[in-house]
């Protein structure tokens, strides 16, 4: 790869040499938390040699609210509105995983129709999240037009959410036991129209972004994740798939109704920022394909909520479980421990950004040009709130 070679040539830093900040050779700058080139509210402490990053430390915690603590003192139903706040642009996965984990421990089975509605909800969420991300990757490489388009189309998806769930951002639709309502009248047609619009947009973005010489020049060869890195760094999701691993929980350990849907697991080979973008771009098309199948096959009547105990004094038997799902960034998981009381003993939320934004980012940043840090960061697709919770 010509791009990769060029990048290597640029590197002036002896990698094993100790960094002496007092030598005058280096400059330390903070990218974030108040910085336009950072995703969300977090910070990178960068040490530069010229314009090359020689050391990177990720700082998080600006969004720390102590969810796991708060959840330990809320009842099982009271937790359901709070979990979605853990990942702002992608709240639905939290709702689903929390509900699934509680259902498993409480021995409740959500009805078929609820499973379909949940799947639709999750896939819509994936689409909205990817659209936002696509805008981000465009903007961080100077293609602000993409951002204007995708955020608007994301808003059309949010309109669907508003209709379906009653809210734009925090849907609070998937509850332990099922979902809160069926689809409103005429939703299917409106959803298909939005999907058609997004599909057209994706075709345009293919031309405007992925074939764009500037994007190619900057993204190719940037932040290569080697195959050997994947497991020791716990890399999952599109970041791992771009490195050639066909790992996708939707196919490997099907949950909800994914075993009834026809879709391909998208992989890449180059494992650089470009490849990761390409994988996500392609996954959006797969998502649209899936949603069309869901809209086609979904049962339109029947219950969407299981029989529940009185949630005001709901005690879940003692136990523990780990439930996971494939979110846009990879394996998202909820680890729940109950002790038979009305409260959780412990909950741990496992977000993929935890490693992507810290261990992986800190490694990949080294040797990168400071101007590409924002692009690299976005290409790993990280959400700070799921790190610090």
């Amino acid at each position: 790869m010509i791009y990769a070679k060029r990048r290597k040539r640029m590197s002036t830093q002896e990698h094993n040499a100790p960094i002496d900040l007092e030598s005058g050779k280096y400059v330390k700058i903070w990218q974030g938390p108040q910085h336009p080139g950072i995703t969300g509210n977090m910070a990178l402490e960068l040490v530069l040699n010229g314009d090359e990053v020689v050391d990177c430390k990720t700082h998080v915690g600006y969004l720390h609210r102590g969810f796991e603590k708060l959840m330990e003192r809320r009842t099982f139903i009271q937790n359901f509105p709070i979990v979605c706040r853990i990942a702002v642009p992608e709240p639905t996965f939290n709702e689903y995983l929390y509900a699934a984990a509680v259902e498993e421990l409480a021995g409740i089975e959500s009805p078929q129709r609820a499973q379909w509605l949940r799947t639709l909800n999750l896939e819509l969420m994936r689409l909205a999240s990817y659209l936002m991300w696509l805008g981000g990757i465009g903007a961080s490489f100077g293609q602000a037009t993409i951002y204007q388009w995708t955020v608007t189309h994301r808003d059309y998806v949010l309109d669907l959410f508003e209709e379906m769930t009653g809210a734009r951002v925090y849907h609070m639709y998937i509850v332990p036991g099922g979902v809160r309502a069926g689809l409103p009248e005429g939703f299917e047609d409106r959803a298909r129209a939005v999907l058609d619009g997004v599909e057209r947009l994706l075709n345009e973005i293919e031309k405007v972004l992925f074939k764009n010489v500037v994007f190619k020049a900057r993204a190719k060869g940037l932040g290569i994740i080697s195959k050997e890195m994947v497991d020791p760094y716990g890399i999952v999701g599109p970041n791992a798939r771009a490195a050639g691993f066909t790992r996708d929980l939707r196919r490997d350990e099907p949950y909800l109704v994914y075993d009834q849907l026809d879709f391909d697991v998208v992989t890449g080979t180059e494992s650089d920022a470009y490849a990761r973008a390409k994988v996500r771009h392609q996954e959006m098309r797969e998502g649209i394909r899936m949603m069309r199948q869901i809209l086609e096959q979904m049962p339109t009547d029947g219950p969407f909520q299981a029989k529940m105990p009185n949630v005001l004094h709901w005690e879940v038997p003692a136990g523990e479980t780990y439930v996971k799902a494939e979110c846009t960034r990879g394996e998202y998981g909820y680890y729940l421990v109950t002790d038979g009381s009305q409260y959780l003993r412990r909950v741990h939320v496992r977000g993929p950004s935890y490693t992507h934004a810290i261990a992986v980012m800190e490694k990949l940043a080294v040797g990168t040009n400071i101007a590409d840090i924002a692009g690299l960061m976005v290409s790993l697709h990280t959400y700070p709130p799921e790190i610090e919770r």
Partner: protein, 595 residues
């Protein structure tokens, strides 16, 4: 780098000719979706102020506050939710759990202010621009956080029940009781309506937790007839239970029974820890019914010497002689009564005031007297031919059955009335093999009898003829039979909001012949034993005592209660009267109460 890559981005120009994405007037053009979870609305008239919304809110965003013009009344606390929009996260759990579905959301979402303390309002009461908005989040019909269906209780099949006087309702199993107790929202609205103000949510909680001993202690704080009330209480509490708005109310009565059924009588003393330390004062109680014995229990617990005078041969009053054993088995009534007596309450049977003992003696010999003599004189129809020998009184029939006598009702029976006595008389007659027709002046919905009793009577094959007014009773061709003339009735509304009243339609008369007619239209009391010098000091109305605070009469030593002194005439009211009089007597005798 290829030329194609260089040109490709210019594809973006194609968009220049399209309609822009931009919304011209976003603020005006975009109301929330029909399902949008916007600002709260509350239908004040439907809301009962149960506060379940406050309980479930994880953000403590809801306060229950008083609203001008709303007073507490049975089934409505008069409080309404006030929202703090510095806390609310619009999760709508409050809407989902709202027992009456009065709480909803509008699709409005815009509220901007300079003062952070502004974001507080009482939904529905304060004048907000979104009040009455048509769109917004409502709980879906198929989505429930509360269960509207009651846990069914096993009962004797009607055909089985008819064969004997075996108890019909079998009681909840432990599992069922827990399941039913789980439906409670612990709002406590029922407590105000229960005449005895029992701590209902608290004892239901003990059922949920399986702690029946604690449950028994809670029951006995306000009601020493828990086994009885767990079976035959008129359960006004259930009428105001907010969960009832979702279907059926909590089976509060059955849950009370679930506690008592699981605690053996022998362990009562140990569990309740009742210790009697004599205080040397003596109280006379007239009537060993629920009122009298309830007073006896609470007085005895405080160390009073208690003597109960009972005209009949057995204790229990109307519970013994007026309630058949398939509803309240004798041993269950005995369970309650024996425990009270075991504390050292003396009962003198077959002792009638005015006959064996004089009223004046009681007043003179005892430090205080509590009188709960009940209503035991059946009201008569006062229609022509009423003194026909085949016209029986409902009370007499029940009394006979309770005393193992055969009332001789025959094969074809008409029961006149719609109260519990009428239902009992009908079901007793069914058990003696008769075909039973119930004649009632109003509609089934207006019957004062318990809905369960009505339902079970119907299930056991009693025929109901409603809006039928007896007009005359005549001799039948067969001297062992009797003919009744009745006319159809039209219902008219009562101007003052009472129950609707039937009006006879003279042009629609009917005649029917039966083996006997059981009249069960109500009872009155007899107060003739009170001598003249006392009676002027006591206040009466419609043939009943009118007690003051703490059930005290103007004759300071005399406290009264039960059916003869209240307008509800049921066991639970009598129990509370007894308890309340016990409080009053204690205060009176310790000098706290100055009448």
């Amino acid at each position: 780098m290829s030329l194609k890559d260089l040109i490709s981005p210019f594809y973006v120009w194609q968009r220049a000719f399209e309609k822009p994405y931009t919304q011209k007037h976003p603020i005006q053009e975009r109301p929330g979706a029909p399902r949008y979870r916007g600002f709260h609305v509350n239908v004040l008239e439907e809301c009962v102020g149960c506060g379940t919304c406050e309980t479930i809110c994880q953000n403590h965003a809801i306060d229950m506050v008083q609203v001008e013009g709303l007073e507490p009344k049975p089934g409505d606390s008069g409080l309404r939710p006030k929202f703090d929009y510095g806390r609310c996260c619009w999760c709508a759990l409050c809407v989902d759990i709202c027992t009456t579905r009065s709480l909803r959301m509008s699709n409005h979402y815009a509220w901007i202010t300079e003062d952070p303390t502004d974001f507080n309002f009482i939904a529905g009461a304060d004048n907000m621009s979104w009040n009455g908005e048509e769109y917004g989040y409502r709980r879906d019909d198929d989505y429930h956080l509360l269960r509207g269906e009651r846990v069914k209780m096993e009962m004797l099949a009607p055909e089985e029940g008819l064969k004997s006087f075996e108890e019909v309702m079998k009681g909840y199993t432990e599992e069922q009781a827990k399941d039913e107790a789980d439906r409670c929202v612990e709002c406590g609205l029922c407590v105000a309506t229960c005449p005895a103000h029992m701590s209902i949510p608290d004892y239901i909680k003990t059922v949920r937790e399986g702690d029946y001993e604690k449950g028994l202690r809670i029951l006995y704080e306000t009601n020493p007839f828990s086994s009885t009330c767990g079976r035959i209480c008129t359960h006004r509490c259930e009428e105001v239970c907010p969960v009832g708005h979702q279907g059926e109310p909590l089976a509060i009565r059955w849950l009370k029974r679930a506690i008592v059924d699981r605690v053996p009588r022998e362990r009562y003393r140990e569990i309740l820890g009742d210790e009697v330390v004599e205080n040397g004062k003596q109280v006379a109680i007239v009537g060993a019914g629920p009122g009298g014995l309830s007073a006896a229990y609470y007085l005895r617990r405080q160390g009073y010497g208690v003597t109960v005078f009972e005209a009949q041969a057995r204790a229990g009053g109307m519970l013994r002689y007026g309630v058949p054993s398939y509803r309240l088995p004798d041993n269950q009534l005995d369970k309650d009564i024996e425990y009270i007596r075991s504390l050292g309450v003396e009962v003198r049977f077959n002792t009638c005031i005015g006959r064996e003992v004089q009223f004046a003696e009681l007043i003179d010999d005892y430090d205080a007297v509590f009188m709960a003599i009940g209503l035991n004189v059946p009201s008569s129809l006062r229609v022509k031919g009423e003194d026909h020998p085949r016209v029986l009184s409902g009370l007499q029939v029940l009394d006979d059955v309770a005393s193992d006598k055969n009332p001789g009702v025959g094969k074809n029976v008409a029961v006149i009335g719609g109260g519990n006595v009428a239902m009992d008389a009908a079901r007793v007659s069914r058990r003696m093999g008769a075909n039973v027709t119930v004649l009632y002046r109003r509609r089934i919905a207006d019957m004062p009898a318990d809905p369960e009793e009505i339902h079970e009577s119907q299930a056991e094959g009693c025929t109901f003829v409603t809006q039928a007014i007896p007009v005359e009773i005549k001799d039948a061709d067969n001297p062992d039979q009797v003919t009744i003339v009745w006319g159809e009735a039209e219902m008219v509304a009562d101007e003052k909001g009472g129950r609707p009243r039937p009006v006879l339609q003279e042009d629609r008369m009917h005649e029917e012949t039966y083996d006997c007619i059981i009249s069960a239209i109500g009872q009155g009391g007899s107060l003739d034993f009170i001598p003249g010098d006392y009676r002027d000091q006591i206040e009466f109305k419609w043939g009943k005592f009118v007690p003051g605070d703490y059930q005290q009469t103007a004759l300071q030593k005399l406290f009264v209660g039960g059916d003869i002194a209240n307008n509800t005439a049921d066991a639970i009211s009598a129990i509370e009267d007894g308890h309340h009089a016990a409080r009053g007597i204690h205060k009176f005798l310790t000098g706290e109460l100055v009448a």
